[in-house]
Amino acid sequence: MMMRSLLIVLLLFASSHASARIAAYEFDNAEQESVYNELVDELRCLVCQNQTIADSNAELAQDMKRKTHELVMQGKTKKEISDFMVQRYGNFVQYKPPVDPTTYLLWAGPFIILFIGLFFLIKIIRNRKVEKPAVLSDDDKSRAADLLNTKTK
């Protein structure tokens, strides 16, 4: 048992080592590295589409990562590099699309759907019939008491 858990822990280290090796780019300073890491998490892999280039190991994604690294090392800012990609591949390459007239619906859509849902929810709640609490008159109460007493006798 002890050996087995030790093995699992060792294997975990092995896998983290492997993934570290894939992204083996070197940077002059921590700032460059963080710009690079932010970018590869925001750029879309165009051949796989639902992955960022950080997630993807597709050949084009590898080349885009290499290009991103190259531009970072040239001292380009995050904005400049993301503009570089957008200029060539369009807004689609960004996972976070800009807010402009073509994307208003995209940004507002979820809230519109939320409000439609709230509207119907409130409507349904209001229409729900309120159950009246049973009100007993004094007559009814004494009759009920009589009935109960006769039963227990």
Binding site: V47, D63, K67, R88, G90, F92
Partner: protein
Amino acid sequence: MNKAAIPLILFLLMAGLFLFVLQKINTGEYDPRDVPSELIDQKVPEFDLVNLLDANDTVKSSDYLGKPWLLNVWGTWCAQCWKEHPYLMFLARQGVPIVGINWRDDMAEARSMLNTEGNPFVETGFDPQSDAVMELGVYGAPETFLIDAQGMIKVKHKGEMTPRVWEEKFKPFF
């Protein structure tokens, strides 16, 4: 109206919509993987690649100013590139200048394809690391650009070059 019919009607509407979109995909009118072209009416990006057939020579986009030319991105790994190859040969024989970019390929295999199938390209740049390909915003092969005499990209076609595509999109420029 019977309330029970509402889910059925919703289902039929959805099914109708899916069928409509599927048909558009099948006829090629709509491609969900399509990304709008960004480079139309812009200057062709500068690239400078090693010549596939001559390691001492380079292929530059600036070498072709002055007349319209085609730029074709291909690779031996790409089935549609093999399919369109005979038609590119035909166009080359008609005197259409085609510059090739050999993308992420094995140099020996690419050379042997041009040897056995014929070489429709005036020159072919060797691009194993997507340098020119990224400049051109290409993410799949084959892809063909038309660049006019002023060096502006006028047409970008993704996928196989066929007689129909040529007639519709490219021929008016020649």
